[in-house]
Each structure stands twice: as structure tokens, then as C-alpha cells.
């Protein structure tokens, strides 16, 4: 029997505000444990929260970036549960009136586009971090407690691990463009839970779902989805029912383990937080936030296409914000988008596959590309210089000089070499004159060889044609 997999994701993303969501403490990853804490985020008796307006603005930015409607009235609620990382024993979150609703993310999988609908994006505070001290004890770092977090909840529109990864990559990239988060999974600023069920192919009846937690990388998400869909199908084929439960993914073992079943599921006793006022956001304020929204990948791609780049190339450039930022910066120094795009796609991006940091700054790359653009060096020589720049960090001009790669553009010198080739290879000349036009390629090659690659190949070819047709 064939099965359909139905996946919904809950993605948590920490916002990069200067201060925490409900107090003035610094929001800074990696600081000394419990150094960014105060009575408010530590839940001391009598302390009260005050909402960080920037966090609301950032969450709205996320909503706008993912085509959501922004609610004009939004309410914060308390989600009550006991856990040592939760200093007040409730998390300030949103349930009934979230900030953003009904968005979508467009993903590309194997050349086809698909819309993944978003149910909501709401704003909440993060919990602290439990650290097992290795001596059997557990300690808490409350620096993260109270950091603003958005939770992005999809509809069950995702059908495979590939789609889930495409969704997460698009999501991550788009958020990176908005600048509201670092979106680093390794630092926990991006986290993801997977809700998954399977059903007979084509059936309208959804199967029982499980929720999987502790997915710390895209790779883990991918593996976990494939594991879980296989497990559920096997259970069904063996005649068992799927139990609604929360699972914990163990990436080292490559399997999921039950954390708690539905019967033990918590009753969070949500209710509106009486310490916080409802937030009213006017359409004018939403419009103002929209105007502050940086250019997003789709718009940027359209802009690049308008520069004359192919759809495919433009798509490659906007896939990561670092690359498009780099591309944009190089373009401030040189006005040949196609040349720059080709070079970045073929050279820089190739290098970045093995090497995480870009070794050549934008200005330096622009200098190299200007030399090519003005025909001062050939593009072949350009690639050679690029390699040396990556290795040594030296400037383009310096390396061109040092390697003696300056292109030969002097007409008299080129003509001299052209005539030399014509007299040295009469057979090729005869072939050309008999209509075998490709013979010119051999002659160009001979001139280039003779000039040690420095002659301007366009000029060589042009002059050869002129002479042969005399």
C-alpha cells in the first residue's frame, strides 16, 4: 500500500533585539551564565513585565515577510507549567490573539514551486537553559530566559523531508534578509519541532500524529522525518495503531524515543496575562513597519533579473544573504552585473563550498573584475589571479603585475604575431579559405601561445579574420 506523509512544523526563532522581551536585560548569546538577569526575568516576587516594542516590530516584520495578516489587537497570555528553566513557572506567550495569522512560504523542490501555508506567527519569551554539570547535577543559566522568540506554525502542508528542508531553508534565508534574527541552529536561535502523520495515499482522513522534539540541525530534521514516516508506516502495516505522543529525536542513535503520551500531556491553563495590556497596532503602524522591511529574496531576485541576469543565476545569488550582500557591494564599484554574477557564481561560490569564509573583500574582487572588464587581463588570467588572491590575500593589481598577466592590446604587436602565424601555417590558411572557418581557432590558439596568453583574444581573432580575407 502507498502512503502520504503529512507534516506540520513549529519553528522557534529568537529575535535579535538589544534587550529582552519584557525587561531591560541584554539579549546577548554567549555571555557569562546568569550575567544578563534581573528581578523581572528571574521571576522575583513583585517584579512586573513591560513589553519590548522592538520585539513586536520584529515579529510583525516576520509576519509581513511571510505574507501574514497582522492582527490589529493582540493579547499576551500565560502558559503555565513547572520547569526549572522557567523562572515564573509560566511563559508569556500568545494563544487566542497572536500577532500574525494566515501567511505562506513559497518553496522550490525539484523545480516545482509549492505554497506552505502558515497558521500563525506569535511572540513569546524564551526559557532559560539547563546545563548538566557532569557531576549528576543540573544548573540553570537564565541569560536566555525572557529573550524574545517568535513561533512560526505551519499548516500540515509539507509532504516529505525534502519539502521540510526546502521550507526551513527558505524560512531561514528570508529571516536572515529581514535582519530580525541570527537564525543559527547551532546557537539555538532557530529551533524546530516536527508534527508528522501518515495516511493511505489519497485519503482525506488524517492519521494520528506524533510530535518530535530536539531537532538541532536541518540534517537531523531530514533524518528524523524519514525515520518517523517509515516507523509509522511499519506500525500500521503490522496492524498497530499510532499512539499520539511526543517523541525525542536522538541524532546519535538515529531514532526517536517517547517523551510523553497524550494522557500525560500538560494542561497549560492559558489565560490573558493581567500584567500586560492588549497591544493595538494600527494599519498605519503596520505600513510603517513594512516600509522599514529590508528587500527580501524574491524582490531582490526580480531586481537581478532586471539587470539582465538569468532567472537561475539570480536565484542562486539570493539563496544566501551573505552572497547577495557581497554581490551588491561589488556592484557599487563596477557596473557590469553579468560579469560580476558569473564570477561570483562560478568562482566565489565554488570556493565557499570548501571554505566557509570569503577571503576576498568586495572592493578587491571589483578591482580584479574591472581589469577583465577593461580588457587589461583576459578572463583566463583573471581566474588565475583570483586563485592567488584567495590564497595570499594580495590585491588584484599587485598580483597581475607580479604574475605578468597584463593583457597585450597593442595593435602593432598583435598584428606582427598574426602575420607570423599566417606564414607559419599555410595549411590552416588554405583550409579557412576553402570554407573551413573553424580553422581560425587553431590560428588564434597559436597566437595566444606565442604571446604566452597575454594577447587580447578578441583582437587576435578579429585581426586574423581581416588578414585572411584580404
Amino acid at each position: 500500500m502507498k502512503y502520504d506523509t503529512v507534516i506540520g512544523l513549529e519553528v522557534h526563532c529568537e529575535l535579535k533585539t538589544k534587550t529582552k522581551c519584557f525587561c531591560g536585560c541584554k539579549n546577548n548569546f554567549g555571555d557569562e551564565p546568569n550575567s544578563n538577569c534581573c528581578p523581572v526575568c528571574l521571576g522575583f516576587p513583585g517584579a512586573l513585565p513591560v513589553l519590548n516594542k522592538t520585539a513586536v516590530e520584529y515579529a510583525i516584520m516576520a509576519g509581513l515577510a511571510f505574507n501574514c495578516s497582522i492582527n490589529n489587537e493582540t493579547v499576551f497570555e500565560r502558559k503555565n507549567y513547572f520547569y526549572p528553566d522557567l523562572s515564573k513557572a509560566y511563559q508569556i506567550s500568545q494563544l487566542e490573539k497572536p500577532l500574525c495569522v494566515n501567511g505562506y512560504v513559497e518553496i522550490n523542490v525539484n523545480g516545482t514551486t509549492k505554497k506552505i501555508r502558515l497558521n500563525r506567527i506569535h511572540l513569546e519569551e524564551d526559557a532559560g537553559k539547563l546545563i548538566h554539570d557532569g557531576m549528576g547535577g543540573t544548573v540553570v543559566d537564565y541569560n536566555r530566559g525572557g529573550v524574545p522568540l517568535i513561533e512560526i506554525v505551519t499548516e500540515p502542508d509539507i509532504a516529505s523531508a525534502d519539502e521540510a528542508i526546502a521550507f526551513l531553508e527558505t524560512l531561514k534565508n528570508t529571516i536572515a534578509y529581514t535582519g530580525i534574527s541570527d537564525v543559527k541552529m547551532e546557537e539555538g536561535s532557530l529551533r524546530c519541532d516536527v508534527n508528522l502523520s501518515v495516511k493511505p495515499a489519497g485519503s482525506n482522513q488524517l492519521g494520528t500524529r506524533t510530535e518530535m522534539k530536539n531537532l538541532n540541525s536541518f540534517k537531523a530534521v531530514f533524518r528524523a522525518i524519514n525515520y518517523e514516516q517509515k516507523r509509522q508506516i511499519e506500525e500500521i502495516e503490522d496492524g498497530h495503531e499510532i499512539v499520539q505522543e511526543t517523541l525525542r529525536w536522538d541524532d546519535a542513535l538515529g531514532e526517536s524515543k517517547s517523551m510523553r503520551s497524550k494522557e500525560d500531556s500538560q494542561d497549560y491553563r492559558y489565560f490573558p496575562d493581567p500584567d500586560l495590556l492588549p497591544v493595538y497596532i494600527s494599519n498605519e503602524e503596520i505600513a510603517e513597519i513594512k516600509s522599514k522591511l529590508p528587500i527580501l529574496p524574491n524582490e531582490l531576485k526580480a531586481k537581478y533579473v532586471s539587470y539582465g541576469l538569468s532567472d537561475y543565476d539570480a536565484g542562486l545569488l539570493v539563496e544566501t544573504k551573505n552572497i547577495s550582500d557581497y554581490f551588491n557591494e561589488v556592484l557599487t564599484h563596477i557596473s557590469n552585473p553579468k560579469l560580476v554574477a558569473n564570477f561570483i557564481i562560478n568562482e566565489t561560490m565554488r570556493k565557499l563550498k570548501d571554505d566557509n569564509t570569503n577571503k576576498i573583500d568586495a572592493k578587491n574582487l571589483a578591482e580584479l573584475l574591472l581589469l577583465i572588464d577593461k580588457n587589461e587581463i583576459s578572463s583566463t588570467a583573471g581566474k588565475q589571479v583570483f586563485e592567488k588572491m584567495w590564497e595570499t590575500g594580495k590585491s588584484a593589481g599587485e598580483l597581475v603585475e607580479q604574475l605578468g598577466l597584463k593583457q597585450l592590446n597593442n595593435d602593432d604587436e598583435i598584428l606582427k604575431m598574426v602575420l607570423e602565424a599566417i606564414s607559419n601555417f599555410p595549411q590552416s590558411v588554405a583550409d579557412y579559405k576553402n570554407g573551413k572557418t573553424s580553422a581560425i581557432g587553431f590560428l588564434v590558439g597559436q597566437v595566444m601561445k606565442n604571446s604566452k596568453g597575454k594577447a587580447n583574444p578578441q583582437k587576435v581573432s578579429l585581426m586574423l579574420k581581416e588578414e585572411l580575407e584580404k
Binding site: 528581578p39 522575583f44 513583585g46 517584579a47 513591560v50 503555565n80 513547572f82 513557572a89 491553563r269 500584567d275
Partner: protein
């Protein structure tokens, strides 16, 4: 001479003209506290802190600096209000040794007014109760008869003011916790409009209802205290941003033309005969002073108590969840796991009434019951607010008794929470509707126990309340 029996207004004159120093005054108050330890009005006395502040104020007086009316005046505050470096116990075993790491905004305001805080008042544990019998430490008896209660939850504050253990007290009022003990101890108690006085640094019971307010010997002293306590606080979202008023300008000395409402739904059911008689004499007094009386209908007023126990318990259950012993407060060392730690700490740390409210609160919030209880109570609250707004279109203030009975005997209601809850039946609607109200003493019953009446105003009408209350308080002084 014993200055401690004077009002703030009277003693402030003496401090300002140099007839008495704050240090001397503070020592007299500290001496009273020592003499009357059997009143158990205080959970802790901060003698050194108080004397240091008193001497600082005296130095300023000597330099001839112009100081506020409260400068150098010894007062007490309820032990659920944080003073940095001192214990905030909330009269709970859980916080028995908890030292506050920061001061409440109102403490900062009192310090800016150079008031001298001499100690912290006993209360029902976490302000839950009407008699201080729920204090984990001791019960504060009524200063007029030690076999009777002082009321609650701010019973320690009311008793302290009545017994001259400070010129004023600051209490908190979630359902009547300032007004009811003020009434039972024969002092003035004010519950300001919700949002007028900052809640920051006051240990929360029910955040949407809690409001701190002064307990004083006179209405004018209440105005002096409120002047010090109010002001927008950016540390609290529910703090109201409005221009600061000078409540000492409230007093015209007349109630001519003032319309006083009587709520017809507040019948004499459960009302003590002597309380009823006193109320009638208060009505008579105001009529003679030229006030008009109108009978009004607030149909939902009798639903307020049920509404209150749902909303306040729900918020309390959540507010008190943070007391888990992980970060501060009592904690055991033999817990088997994290759940065991929570269970032991909270079982050991909380008293019976607090546990009852936590269970009640969690019940009304749990899935399947939320709509029937919490949501419905919110709807009732909305209705009650509308009904009060409506009646204030045809009156300036509403008159009710503060408490249906004078002080009851210690132990009398301790095992009957419902009858205990009923002692707040007239005060609770005020909190539910976020209104201001003041309790004013109006004599004694045959047993010699104080009786009081309550005036309720529309939002932010504290000035009107003060004026109407003061006309009775100053002209009818001999009745006290």
C-alpha cells in the same frame, strides 16, 4: 510628651517647627512597638534602618530644607512590599528568610518623601484572608479587644495604626484587604483606583485587582499618604499615565448638593443590626449636611463575590507558581527528582488557605472548565463595570457598610472559609470594577468594637471621596 497619638498633619507641624525630632518620634514609636508586642502587628521591626533615616531627616530639617509633609514621620508597611535588603515574608513560611533584592516603587516614593519606615506588618499569608489568622507566624488581634480579629489581610497595618505603632500603614487591597481591617480596627482605609498606585515590587496576589493603599488615623492623613504614593511607573504596564493630583486640595468642608447613592441590592441580609443602625445615622448625618440620597440599582453586585473568587484565585495560582524553591525561598535537600522538589517545597511552604486558592485557581483555568468559570467571570466583571458606570451618571459617591459585621472572634470563622469570604461582600465589587473606595470609622458597637462605612467613587474620583469622607471624619469626630 507622647506624640504618637497625633495625626500625620499634627505631628508634621511639630517636626517642621522643630518641636520634636524625627529621631525622638521614631524612638517613641519603636517603644510603643516593644510595649505592645502582644498585638503581633509586625513581622519585623527595622530599628536601625528607621533610626538612620530619622537622623538623616533631622539633619535636613536642621539645615532648614523645605521637606514634604511626610518627612520624618514613622510609618509601617505591609510585609508583602519589598524594601531592598530587608525581609519580605508575606507572612509565609515559604518566604520566611527571603531578603528582597530591590525596593518596590512605592517604597522609593515614600523614601523620596523622607517617611521613616519602622517595620513590616503582619498579614494573611500572601494577602489571602480577612483576619490575619492565615499568617504562618501569628494572628494580629483587634487592638480594642484581643479576643477578636483585626481583619485582613492588612490586619497588621490596621492594628498598628490604631495602636499608634506608626502614624500610617501601607496595605494592599485585592478584595477589601485595606478597607475591611481599617473598618474593624477603627481607622481610615483607602483603596485607590486600579492603576493609580504602582504595583511594582509588591508581591502579587491577583494582579488585575491588587492595589496598595494607605491606612491612617484621619481622612486628611490618607490624602497626605496618597500624595506620596501615586505617580506613573514605567516599570508597570497597568500603571495609569495621568497628571499627578494634589489630594490635599480635596477638602471643601461641605457636601451640599453632593448626591450619595444607596445600592438597593445591598439589603440587610447578613448585616449586623448595630452596623445597620450606624449606617442609618451616617445617612442622617449627611442629609443634615445637605447631601442628597438616591436609591440605585447595581443588579450584579451580589455576583461580585463569586466572580472575585474565580478571578483572584486564577491569577493567584499562576502568580504563586514561581515559588518553587529553585531560586529562593524554602527548599528541601532530599528531593528525589524535580517533581518531588516542587511537591515538597510547596507542600511545606504554603498554608492551608493559600493551597485552597491555588487549587481553586488551577481548577477554573483548566481545560474544559475555563469557559464556564474564568471566561464567565470576566463577562460578569464587564457587566458590573457597565452597571457601576451607569449609576455614577446619577450620583457622586455610593455609600455602603465596609463590613457586614464588626470584628469577629479569633477562631470563629477559621474553619468556615465561606463565612469568612462573606466578610468582604461589600468591598469586593469595588476591586472587580477597578473603582476607588474609602472606609471611614463611624463609632463602636456595644462591645466597644469599631464600625465603619464605605464610600465608593467613580474611577479617579479620590478627591471627591476624600472630601465627602472628611466632612464626616472631621465634623463627627466626637462619635469616634
Amino acid at each position: 510628651m507622647d506624640y504618637t497619638k497625633l495625626s500625620i498633619l499634627e505631628v508634621s507641624k511639630l517636626l517642621h517647627d522643630g518641636s520634636v525630632t524625627s529621631e525622638e518620634l521614631t524612638k517613641q514609636v519603636l517603644n510603643n512597638i516593644k510595649q505592645k508586642q502582644n498585638l503581633h502587628a509586625l513581622t519585623s521591626v527595622c530599628e536601625e534602618y528607621a533610626l538612620k533615616k530619622a537622623r538623616e531627616v533631622d539633619a535636613l530639617f536642621k539645615k532648614g530644607e523645605k521637606l514634604p509633609l511626610l518627612a520624618g514621620v514613622p510609618i509601617t508597611i505591609k510585609d508583602n512590599i519589598n524594601i531592598k535588603g530587608l525581609k519580605t515574608t508575606c507572612s509565609s513560611k515559604f518566604l520566611e528568610n527571603f531578603v528582597a533584592p530591590y525596593s518596590a516603587t512605592i517604597v522609593e516614593k515614600l523614601e523620596q518623601n523622607y517617611a521613616v519606615i519602622v517595620g513590616k506588618n503582619n498579614l494573611d499569608e500572601f494577602a489571602m484572608g480577612s483576619s490575619t489568622e492565615n499568617s504562618a507566624f501569628f494572628t494580629t488581634p483587634n487592638p480594642y479587644n484581643l479576643e477578636y480579629v483585626s481583619g485582613g489581610s492588612s490586619g497588621g497595618s490596621a492594628c498598628a495604626v490604631a495602636a499608634n505603632l506608626g502614624f500610617a500603614g501601607v496595605g494592599t487591597d485585592t478584595g477589601g484587604s485595606v478597607r475591611q481591617p481599617a473598618c474593624l480596627c477603627g481607622v481610615v482605609g483607602l483603596k485607590p483606583t486600579y492603576g493609580l498606585v504602582s504595583r511594582y515590587g509588591i508581591v502579587a496576589f491577583a494582579s488585575s485587582l491588587d492595589q496598595a493603599g494607605p491606612l491612617t488615623k484621619t481622612v486628611k492623613d490618607s490624602a497626605i499618604m496618597l500624595n506620596a504614593l501615586t505617580g506613573y511607573d514605567e516599570k508597570e504596564e497597568t500603571s495609569v499615565k495621568r497628571e499627578k493630583e494634589d489630594y490635599l486640595t480635596s477638602f471643601s468642608g461641605s457636601v451640599k448638593g453632593i448626591k450619595i447613592g444607596l445600592i438597593k441590592e445591598i439589603g440587610s441580609d447578613g448585616m449586623d443590626v448595630e452596623v445597620k443602625e450606624k449606617l442609618e445615622s451616617v445617612i442622617e448625618f449627611y442629609k443634615n449636611q445637605g447631601a442628597e440620597f438616591v436609591e440605585l440599582s447595581v443588579p450584579f453586585v451580589n455576583n461580585a463575590l463569586a466572580c472575585y473568587y474565580i478571578l483572584s484565585s486564577a491569577e493567584a495560582a499562576s502568580n504563586l507558581a514561581r515559588f518553587d524553591g529553585v531560586k529562593y525561598g524554602v527548599s528541601v535537600f532530599d528531593a528525589k527528582n524535580i517533581n518531588d522538589l516542587y511537591l515538597k517545597n510547596r507542600s511545606n511552604g504554603f498554608g492551608k488557605e493559600v493551597k485552597r486558592r491555588i487549587m481553586l485557581g488551577n481548577y477554573v483555568l483548566s481545560s474544559g472548565y475555563y469557559d464556564a468559570y474564568y471566561k464567565k467571570a470576566k463577562k460578569v466583571q464587564k457587566k458590573l463595570v457597565e452597571q457601576f458606570n451607569k449609576v455614577f451618571e446619577s450620583c457622586d459617591v455610593i455609600l455602603t457598610p465596609t463590613s457586614p459585621t464588626p470584628a469577629f472572634k479569633i477562631g470563629e470563622k477559621a474553619n468556615n472559609p465561606l463565612s469568612m469570604y462573606l466578610s468582604d461582600v461589600y468591598t469586593v465589587p469595588v476591586n472587580i470594577a477597578e473603582l476607588p473606595a474609602i472606609s471611614v470609622p463611624c463609632g463602636f458597637n456595644k462591645m466597644g468594637l469599631p464600625i465603619g462605612f464605605q464610600l465608593i467613587g467613580k474611577k479617579f474620583s479620590e478627591k471627591t471621596l476624600f472630601n465627602v469622607a472628611d466632612v464626616y471624619d472631621s465634623k463627627n469626630g466626637e462619635a469616634k
